[in-house]
Amino acid sequence: MTAKTMLLSCVFAATATHSFAQVADVQQYWTSASESKAMNVIADAFKAKGGTWIDSPSADYDSTIAAATSRIVGGEPPSAVLMTPNGAMLDLAEGGILRSLNDLRDAEGWQASLAPLIYERVTVDDEMVALPLGVHADNWIWYNTAIFDEVGIEEPTTIDELFAAADAIQGAGYTAFAVGGEPWQELYILTDMILSLGGPAYWNEIMVERDDAALQDPLLVTAFEYFRKVSDYVDAGSTGRSWNQTTNMVITQEAAMQFMGDWAKGEFLAAGQTPGKEFGCFLMPSDKPAYAAVTDVFVFPEIDDDEQIAGQDLLARTVMDPEIEVQVAAVKGSVPARTDVDLSGLDICATRGAQALATPGVAVASTYDALPGDLNGQLIDMATQFWTDPDMTAEEGAAALRDVLAD
């Protein structure tokens, strides 16, 4: 046998091992109109590459995690689970349940192509355990351009200008801030104020390091005062209103601005509006701009079945394909997690987001991604207590926040 035939037989053997089916059973919750379009982008590309896609949709994040964990405990893990890099992911990773993607990462050079913050979020103890599908931020403000034009105001660049704009808008007879009644929406307003006053560095001190001295900073009291001030501009129907009904107030020119993550953009687009024309967007104004990232990721549970392992490999490569990243971002309203992709196809809001994400020191993890265990939930409870109880002072609010975060 010559060296050449030996080489040939090796090539054949290698292709032979790839001849079995590549199956991916995907536990996911992207079921709304724009979300399912985004998931279909991934599924179609995966099928085009020869994979077999088994869709296991759940109604929402909670039921997806519940279904995935019971399948894992029952010994029938899905090949991939859609989730966010939060405490739950940390739990799964520490339990040794998630497959390490270090082999693929090194082969494909993924570490260099991801935004540093995002890479940090998907890595636990030097093991890459998740792949980002796209990045959202929760500190956007969405506004109705017609109201801004009528009142004669520009996008505010400081927190004081923001409230001055709100006063002017209220004077013109509109609701200045559309706020819904779900507790997590209220937490976002509070974190917007903290981010605006403290900036990314301070944010990391209190949310990531949870440093005791930083939590004593009187800045937090000021943040709570601004948080309380927002409630002066809210309409009577706010209680219990969902976030998308609230976005609709800005769409229909009933209210001028909404504090909301950039999933709100999907609502504007669905109403036939164009970013930069009927509606606009800006990140929470501050002299220390920040981008509070919420990431969507796939995790890949450890699995025995060869077909599913091959399916995981193929799915991982599909998700990280720069073109797929851009397409998913375009339909979902998110920003690609890779910084080396062509951004020319994105709209003005996504472009702003992508720029912020790529600027060093601007992107931080939102409370949702940054806090372990149920701390984010405790913050939500705390924020909504403060919001609905006008007798609670800003000092008491800051103390309550400290109680949750300082362990």
């Binding site: 507790p183 265990g373 149920d374 609905t388």
Partner: protein
């Protein structure tokens, strides 16, 4: 062999043993496992690192849990008393031999056939100050009319009472009506001969004789209170703030969205103890009577 087995299947002891085994495993087994979990630090997945009663202490420090428990007591008391009074009044009216009795009985019982989610959503719309009753009355000309309890943290809990009483009064009515129908005719003759006013007859003679009927009503309503979840989720979702949170919702939230298995388990165990405590007087009187 198969026939022998078939014969065995129908032997009472075998059936009963199977039945108790199922109960023991799935009912008491689950309770036992939940208790076990409440002693650990489990978050998303079960982990067996025991920390004793630490999670129970955490629970007592948790403002949301305390508010939930207080809400359950306030809501429970008002709901049970309200349903009993309204249900009894309805039963008395129907028992007076009104016309179209069947029609009214159906109307009053109908809310019970509606799912709690639909009930909650309907009442939420009715009580929403910008859509419901308040908006309607204001449109009719009473500009200053205000009924926005559902948006006020210290009053929202009463809107839950209103919706629940609306739903459950029919159930109480039908049970009390059945009780009234079985009252001895001679008793009514005696009441008429003594010329006792109607209301006193009910309050002092008829109802005291129907103690077991009311006891069953109370037990039924109490179970509604303890497992109260769907109505709250549909109507207020615990808000405004945490003002209408209840223990069952606390447990579900912490199991499934807060990924805090141990705290949710501790809450469930406390709920079990709480319900045993609430049922204790009833069970005590029942067992004592049997002796």
């Amino acid at each position: 062999m198969a026939r022998w087995f078939q014969r065995q299947m129908f032997r009472p002891t075998f059936t009963v043993v199977a039945f108790f085994a199922v109960i023991a495993i799935f009912f008491y087994g689950s309770i036992g496992w939940t208790f076990l979990m409440s002693l650990t630090k489990s978050s998303l997945m079960p982990r067996y690192d025991f920390v004793g009663f630490e999670k129970y202490a955490d629970l007592m420090d948790n403002k949301r849990w305390i508010v939930s428990c207080i809400n359950m007591v306030v809501f429970g008391a008002l709901f049970i008393v309200g349903s009993l009074i309204l249900g009894s009044i309805l039963a008395i009216f129907i028992d007076r031999g009104i016309r179209f009795e069947g029609v009214f009985r159906t109307i009053f019982l109908y809310p019970l056939a509606i799912s709690l989610i639909v009930t909650g959503l309907g009442w939420r719309w009715l009580l929403d100050p910008t859509l419901g009753i308040q908006a309607m009355v204001r449109d009719m000309g009473w500009e200053n009319f205000a009924f926005d309890w559902i948006t006020e943290p210290d009053r929202a809990i009463y809107t839950l009472v209103i919706a629940s009483v609306w739903r459950s009064a029919g159930l109480v009515m039908i049970i009390v009506l059945a009780g009234l129908r079985s009252v001895d005719g001679d008793l009514w003759k005696a009441i008429r001969m003594e010329k006792i006013p109607q209301w006193r007859a009910y309050v002092q003679v008829i109802f005291p004789g129907m103690r077991p009927v009311f006891a069953s009503c109370i037990v039924l309503l109490m179970s509604e209170v303890i497992r109260g979840y769907d109505l709250i989720v549909a109507m207020t979702n615990g808000g405004p703030g945490i003002s209408t949170e209840m223990p069952a919702k606390f447990a579900v939230d912490f199991f499934f969205s807060r990924m805090n298995l141990s705290l949710a388990s501790a809450a469930s165990i406390l709920m079990l103890l709480l319900s045993l405590l609430m049922l204790a007087p009833y069970l005590y009187s029942e067992f004592r009577r049997r002796d």
